[in-house]
């Protein structure tokens, strides 16, 4: 059981292709962790959204190094991201899920947002999601507690 805080670490250039390595890191975490499937899926979903957000918004054409540490603990799993990219101007408390509308109303369907769900989805999928900017470093911290 990887419930003793053993860390799995990934250090990559933040690019769309790096997202595959994020999934591989998560698979390495789960290889020796008995987290229930639903908890895993929620954690994976949130971690992937934050990684995609960094790739999309922090890079701005620059090389950005992304470091991701994931670890399993008796009561939770954690992910810590660090990157040296542009500051993320986010208000996680205010990150609202775009509406879903009436599926039988064509105008409502055509008005559906095609983006803007990432951080709201990440927030909904974990118990804690924190973003901090310190000097020139972005830090994201995610926690999913184990279901009992």
């Amino acid at each position: 059981m990887a419930t003793d805080g053993v860390e799995h670490v990934l250090r990559v250039n933040a690019r769309p292709e790096s997202l595959e390595q994020v999934h591989e890191l998560l698979a390495a975490l789960w290889a020796d962790d008995a987290m229930p499937t639903l908890d895993r899926m929620h954690f994976d979903t949130a971690v992937a959204e934050v990684a995609a957000n960094i790739v999309e918004h922090a890079t701005r054409g620059q090389d950005v190094t992304l470091v991701l540490r994931v670890s399993g603990w008796p009561d939770r799993v954690e992910a810590r991201f660090e990157d040296d990219g542009a500051e993320a101007h986010v208000d996680l408390a205010a990150a609202a899920m775009p509406g879903s509308g009436d599926p039988d109303d064509l105008d409502a369907v055509l008005a559906l947002a095609e983006d803007g769900r990432g951080l709201a989805l990440a927030r909904a999928a974990v118990d804690e999601l924190v973003y901090e900017r310190e000097g020139s470093t972005n830090r994201w911290f995610l926690v999913r507690r184990r279901s009992r």
Binding site: L19, T45, A125
Partner: protein
């Protein structure tokens, strides 16, 4: 990694199966394939998600875009055979109300 398998059925329905992870890398491809099918006259499309292990918000955005494209052309885009992670993401985003997943590809347009 992702791979897309597409085919059209005798009843004119286009079937699109993303195999792998449907993320920001694959989303533009999915949008393109839906547009292509619609341009070829297949405005009714089933997205077979039985081989889709993972979806993120970019993948969802591509499905929404596909829904709009097909509906504007008088058709519809339906999801079939969604796995547990896709189902969880649809519920967390409330999009299961709009992209109402069907149990299987064969019956996705039954009753229409």
């Amino acid at each position: 990694m992702i791979e897309f398998q597409t085919h059209t059925r005798d009843d004119g329905v286009g079937v699109l199966a993303p195999v792998g992870r449907l993320t920001m890398v694959a989303a533009p491809q999915l949008r393109g394939l839906v547009s292509q099918l619609v341009e070829q006259g297949h405005a009714r499309i089933v997205v077979d998600l039985s081989g889709t292990d993972f979806i993120d918000s970019s993948g969802l955005g591509a499905l929404i875009a596909g829904l709009k494209t097909t509906r504007q052309a008088g058709g519809d885009l339906r999801l079939a055979a969604v796995g547990p992670q896709v189902q969880a993401v649809l519920e967390l985003t409330n999009l299961h109300r709009v992209l109402r997943p069907r149990p299987d590809v064969a019956g996705a347009f039954d009753g229409d």
